[in-house]
Amino acid sequence: MQAISLICQYLIPVFVLFTVVYGFIKKVPVYDSFVSGAKDGIGIITGIFPYVLAIFIVVKTFDASGAHVFIKNIFSLVSGPLHSPPEVFSIAIVKPFSNAASLGIFTEILKSSGPDSIGSIAAAVIMGSAETTFYVLAVYLGAVGIKKTKYLVPVCITADVVGIIVAIARVKLMF
């Protein structure tokens, strides 16, 4: 564990060092190159901004409306027989939209049911194996201005659902 954590810490610095030194050896004006590349950043983000805004409005208002309390209550009917806290399902619902919100729910579960409970562990696995799908979609598609996404969104949602089911099943096997 410690070793891997150390490798991760060194990965980016080593990559940066390698890039600039290799560039210097190949007689690239590294400073000028860096500046001319970095210049494009602001243009890309200007393109992304409206997409991010649209996603954030949905996430924040959904959170504030209390709708996910209702969803949690529905899922508590399902989760009762499965012996896992209903919050596990709120994580599964919230994670595709917002990392910050799902982290909040995750700490709630840790506090309320204890860090070594099946609920916490299932939530942890979901946290680690699901991704903020809609945010990624907004940013990556926004970056190149794609409007026709064919069957991408259904595929992503199916993948999320499969991931969550596998995560819960896998944790169930441990107990």
Binding site: I44, I45, F62, A124, M127, V144, I146, Y151
Partner: protein
Amino acid sequence: MNVIWLLVICISILFSAVSGRIDEFTKAMFEAGKAAVEVCLYLVGIVSLWLGLTKILEDSGLIYKLSNFFGAAISPLFRKIPKGHPSITSISLNLLANLFGLGNAATPLGIKAMEELQTLNREPDTITFEMMLFIVINTSSIQLIPFTVIGLMANYGSRNPNIIVLPTFVSTVISTTTAVGILFLFRKLSGRAG
């Protein structure tokens, strides 16, 4: 996307009205504006940073060498990308960053990868299969060690937070494989290659 957006907004308004929190809805909307600006400001910084670095890679020719190097690993999936194309490097670096949990590097490299995939696209407003594949792999996120989650569990006094490493890895591998499988299936069903 249009349908999902509409649905979630309507649900939110409905629920805030029912639970008597309609002012919260308005407040949250304006907060969203602020949060979006903050996130984008942050993104401007790191995206520019990585674009600057990859420009050095391009000018030194290293990006093409890396593309040849990584090409062997990802070309079985990304068949339509020409050999040695710079997008191979961006895609590979993004996937590596994801694998090691380096989110700050993964997003900018992903944006860069999308831009380079777009140069291969003949219909600029329509997504290509390679883009879909790249996004699907990204959204099902293969990660070696979920550091944030382990850190939080340890913080709250878990006896053995490392217990989640293996199940997380297993479920992420299964979900990514399934996702890619579903994508290929959809391509077959939609009848048209590409």
